[in-house]
């Protein structure tokens, strides 16, 4: 079984407890306007193109059977242009490019191969650290996730799955059985807005979340706040209410929106999706934290 993986990041310190290796899965059913990892959305272009690395050698033009690469005789002389819409993903150009200016967004990897990389850092994991499956939506490739989690458990690793919750419910029980902690994205408590900004309804997400809780899974809710969108009372209320209704929720983490996926989107020819006016101030984040704390049942960890 091969998995479509965009990145394996060692020494991750923000994707669960301790030192972790985070495996980023390609593909996501959501289309969040603020996505930090646009390369993991399915159907997106298959190449990263970093113009700054390109030396204009033209090797990709010769290699591409579909004319996706071309050279600019005028303007930036000798510079190269890439049209993502013509690319069919044969990766001949990425092999030809000496400068790694074009690179595949994802690679197909075997779970055993992935685990080999993850295990390299076993000495750093200690009791708390381990593997985190992230993405994208890892549970879009549920079979692969299951295989990876099984291998992780065979090797005594702590397992974290980061999910947006929008997946086929039949996968939940086997995955939950091998997962020490879910980092569960709670995008928006307002159903209408959820649909508008992520492209899907939040109904399935909430249903899966409650089902995971019923299975006894430990859950850390995470919500990214963007000013003018979900940084408001209704969302915080519903976040607090949802968290309070879960028996195994260990906390809620509020993250501040940052136009982060922006440069990556550019590298994929998607244009910049970063919105400076969505960034909340430190004070707004602090207030949101306070509000949340006030509304939540005691026993849930204070938001950071």
């Amino acid at each position: 079984m091969l998995l479509s993986i965009t990145n394996i990041q060692r020494f991750s310190t923000h994707d669960g407890p301790g030192v972790r290796t985070t495996v980023f899965f390609q593909g996501c059913p959501l289309r969040c306007a603020w996505c930090h990892n646009p390369e993991t959305q399915s159907g997106c272009p298959m190449l990263f193109y970093v113009a700054g690395r390109c030396i204009g050698c033209g090797a990709c033009v010769k290699a591409c059977p579909n004319g996706a690469h071309s050279m600019h005789p005028f303007g930036r002389t000798g510079r190269h242009d890439y049209d993502a819409t013509l690319c069919k993903g044969c990766f001949r150009c990425t092999e030809a490019c000496p400068a790694k200016a074009v690179e595949p967004v994802s690679r197909m990897l075997d779970p055993v191969e992935i685990m080999e990389i993850v295990l390299k850092d076993k000495v750093f994991y200690g009791e708390k650290g381990g593997i985190t499956l992230s993405g994208g939506e890892p549970l879009l490739q549920a079979g692969g996730c299951l295989e990876l989690l099984r291998l992780a458990k065979d090797n005594g690793l702590n397992t974290v799955v980061e999910t947006a919750g929008h997946f086929d419910a039949t996968h939940l029980a086997p995955i939950a059985a091998l997962t020490d902690l879910f980092l569960w994205d709670f995008k928006d408590g307002n159903a209408k807005r959820h649909k508008e900004y992520t492209g899907v309804s939040n109904a399935l997400i909430l249903k899966n979340l409650r089902a995971a809780d019923a299975l006894g899974s430990k859950i850390l809710l995470r919500s990214m706040l963007a000013k003018g969108i979900n940084l408001e009372e209704e969302h915080l209320h519903s976040l607090a209410e949802t968290a309070s209704g879960l028996k195994h929720c260990i906390g809620v983490e509020l993250l501040s929106y940052h136009p982060y996926g922006g440069s990556k989107s550019e590298q994929m020819g998607l244009g910049d999706n970063g919105r400076k006016d969505w960034i909340p101030s430190a004070e707004e984040m602090r207030l949101a934290g306070e509000t949340l704390h006030r509304l939540m049942r005691p026993g849930i960890r204070e938001p950071e």
């Binding site: 060692r10 020494f11 310190t13 050698c57 000496p98 790694k100 390299k120 750093f124």
Partner: protein
């Protein structure tokens, strides 16, 4: 008297003779209160406040150069008027000069100090004995040495004086020995003079400190405050005489005093922290107000080593260990680089405290892997007890403190490959296979190391390594000899072979660059055959001109040392291990110990112009790897991968040390999990067999801001390459190098 020298500004009729410097600086520049002062941190929370407002103010003004500036106004004393100076023997001159320093150096007593004594002659900041004759220096001073301060606390200086008297009674002593031993006595005499001047000055203004100083450093210390005073006074005297000693294992030396005082209730932990903070703040008295652009100002080698086992194998970690961490955490003082010996017995709490300090940035706290170093030192030939005593010289080179004369000899292993093996500076060589290339490289390396050995030995003895052994006469350094075990016994000086251990260490630099170069040749020429050997040599000689596609290919398509890539790492590890083997063969040929070590200490900057383009795609003049760290720009797999690559070499064979610099991005260590992650890195480093880890937390954006507005970032310290420096005092290339290496772990 010639007036040409900038050092001659201090006249003989010094107005400083008995003066307490009472500067108006206090009233003009003082900030509203110590608690409003902010010491730079890379972390997203402020540094904790435990010290009182006055102590914090004292730290602030010291870190901002108040006392350094004062010292520069009184750089040296002149000895021109000493009758018959010219006709004196070298030791006679030295003793007269030290006596003059003791009599004339300005006395400084600061309002909020907890210990007294100050190295007020600014010339010492330039590593000379600050006593000049006809406007010129007489002797260089001594550094890279940790003196026997523990003995001062235990027996007092009087104990050492007594030892000298007894030794001098030996009728078998020769004249040179007597002269050296008498010079040590005279140096102690000078210390008495200086001490008396402080007692006089302190009597009215600081009765408590006066009370301590009546007793120490001449008598053994009786309690914690006296012990800190004793240590500081002798340390300050050494620095007054121009020397830059390391401190060594401060928690082992002071822990017992504090324990007794806490138990008897004469002192609280908070009071002890204030006292000890005074020691650290006083240690910043050489920081200058202006910003000299250099390789950083904060490296006077006053190193501190914490924790680890004592001679009996017991963990020495105690309250002093934690107080030191409290102090550097709060004040961000990087002038005393703190290295903690960690390993099997290290309390979890200590690792956590280290991580909490490290995350603020400044690179102040580094880690030794104790089990590996003990193995390394005993395999090298030290007894178990001696090995357990290890501290360092002032940077991180391992030595037995208080009994080691140390020097190191850095060389560029990349240049040897490029010039001697590949002939890139002349007619290029030709090799048909990798094996013969590597064999030639090892032969060239061997020749270089043997040359260093020969030169070192000849330098110290005037002879080649052989059976008939004696030391060459060296410049006087009695202030150092008197605190170095072996010198009194032998009647020889520190520089003249008197120390128990005489250690000269060849340090390989550029090993990762040599490894990467060999790897690139192996892949490109012998494996993939993309270019012929002579073709590649021609390309390198023309600095990759017109070969951008191939250059990009070797830069990007191969993985180099530092990414946990076994194949690539093997090349660098082989260079390191083979170097250690070459050095080991020279063992035992003479009484000079010759342990292998790895360092550049920033020399990669001065070496750059003398290297040609390299096979792994970098051009002539590029600044390459530091210490045992990956070449900048070649590592992208993060801190854990880098540590793993580094640990693949058998670092225990580098008995003098091999440092890895890891710069972590500030966001990687934020939050509660940041501390746990740092602890995990430290533990992994130990488990994998690392030697010395210098972690730093930096924010490249802030470093850029500091470049633009140096005035606003005077307290921002960074780990450079074995020491810390205030970032703004680094020259442009150094600043770029630090910024370039800030990306790991993101």
């Amino acid at each position: 008297m010639s007036l040409e020298s900038p050092w001659n500004r201090m006249s003989l009729e010094s107005p400083y003779k008995h003066m307490i410097l009472e500067s108006p600086w206090n009233r003009i520049h003082r900030e509203p209160g110590g608690n409003n002062l902010e010491f730079y941190t890379a972390f997203n929370e402020k540094r904790p406040i435990r010290l009182n407002a006055q102590t914090r103010e004292f730290a602030w003004e010291s870190l901002h150069g108040r006392y350094g500036e004062e010292s520069l106004r009184t750089p040296v004393v002149a000895v021109d008027d000493i009758i018959g100076f010219e006709r004196m023997t070298e030791y006679g001159k030295y003793d007269a000069a030290i006596a003059r320093i003791a009599e004339m150096a300005p006395i400084r007593i600061c309002e909020f100090e907890t210990v007294s004594g100050a190295a007020t002659l600014g010339g010492a900041i330039d590593h000379v004995v600050p006593a000049f004759w006809r406007g010129g220096k007489l002797w260089d001073s001594v550094s890279h040495v940790t003196l026997g301060f523990g003995k001062v606390l235990e027996t007092g200086i009087d104990g050492i004086a007594q030892e000298l008297i007894l030794r001098l009674a030996d009728p078998a002593l020769g004249a040179p020995q007597i002269e050296i031993l008498e010079s040590m006595r005279n140096t102690i005499g000078a210390l008495r003079v200086w001490h008396k001047r402080y007692l006089e000055a302190l009597a009215r203004v600081k009765p408590a400190i006066h009370g301590n100083l009546i007793h120490v450093p001449f008598k053994p210390a009786r309690h914690f405050h006296e012990a800190v005073q004793s240590l500081w006074f002798v340390f300050a005297f050494e620095r007054l005489c121009g020397n830059w000693p390391g401190i060594g294992r401060i928690d082992e030396m002071l822990g017992g005093f504090l324990k007794r005082d806490l138990a008897s209730g004469v002192l609280t932990l908070d009071e002890a922290r204030e006292i000890l903070a005074g020691f650290f703040i006083k240690g910043c008295e050489w920081i200058r107000r202006d910003i000299p652009e250099d390789c950083g100002d904060a490296h006077h080698y006053q190193n501190i080593v914490l924790s680890g086992m004592d001679v009996d194998g017991q963990d020495v970690t105690n309250e002093v260990t934690y107080l030191v961490l409290d102090i550097v955490e709060e004040l961000g003082i990087g002038d005393f680089p703190v290295s903690v010996r960690i390993g099997g017995n290290t309390p979890e709490k200590l690792l956590t405290r280290m991580a909490e300090v490290i995350r603020h940035g400044g690179g102040i706290v580094a880690a030794y892997n104790e089990p590996l170093i003990l193995k390394s030192l005993t395999e090298f030939g030290y007894s178990t007890a001696e090995a357990r005593r290890f501290a360092n010289d002032g940077c991180w080179e391992v030595q037995v403190p208080g009994k080691t004369h140390f020097g190191y000899y850095p060389f560029d292993s990349l240049k040897i490959l490029l010039n001697d093996t590949l002939g890139l500076n002349g007619t290029p060589a030709l090799f048909d296979d990798f094996g013969s290339l590597y064999a030639k490289y090892l032969a060239d390396l061997k020749r270089a190391v043997e040359g260093i050995y020969r030169d070192t030995v000849r330098d110290r003895t005037g002879q080649l390594p052989g059976a008939d052994w004696h030391w060459r006469t060296a410049i006087p350094c009695s202030a150092v000899s008197m605190l170095t075990e072996g010198c009194i016994e032998s009647g020889l000086s520190y520089l003249g072979g008197g120390a128990r251990y005489n250690v000269m260490s060849p340090h390989i630099g550029g090993a990762p660059d040599a490894g990467n170069s060999l790897y690139a040749i192996h892949k490109l020429v012998f494996e993939e055959r993309k270019v012929s050997f002579s073709g590649l040599m021609a390309i390198l000689q023309s600095n990759w001109e017109g070969q951008e596609a191939l250059r990009q290919y070797v830069l990007n398509q191969y993985t180099y040392y530092g990414n946990d890539h076994d194949e690539a790492d093997a090349f660098t590890c082989n260079v390191l291990n083979d170097f250690a083997g070459i050095v080991a063969e020279l063992k035992g040929r003479c009484p000079i110990l010759f342990p292998a070590g790895v360092s550049t200490f920033g020399r990669q900057i001065e070496w750059a112009p003398f290297r040609t383009a390299v096979p792994f795609g970098r051009r002539k003049g590029d600044i390459l790897s530091s210490n045992t760290s990956p070449t900048p720009g070649t590592d992208s797999a993060g801190a854990t991968a880098m540590i793993r690559s580094y640990c693949k070499a058998d670092l225990s064979r580098q008995a003098n040390g091999a440092a890895l610099d890891v710069k972590l991005h500030h966001t990687a260590v934020q939050g509660e999990n940041g501390v746990e992650s740092l602890v995990a890195l430290l533990k992994g480093f130990v488990a994998l067999g690392g030697f010395f880890l210098q972690p730093d937390v930096v924010d490249a954006t802030v470093l850029r801001l500091a470049q633009a507005n140096p005035e606003d970032y005077k307290t921002l310290s960074v780990r450079v390459s074995g020491w810390n420096a205030r970032f703004v005092t680094l020259g442009p290339e150094w600043q770029e190098m630090v910024i370039e290496r800030t990306a790991q772990g993101v």
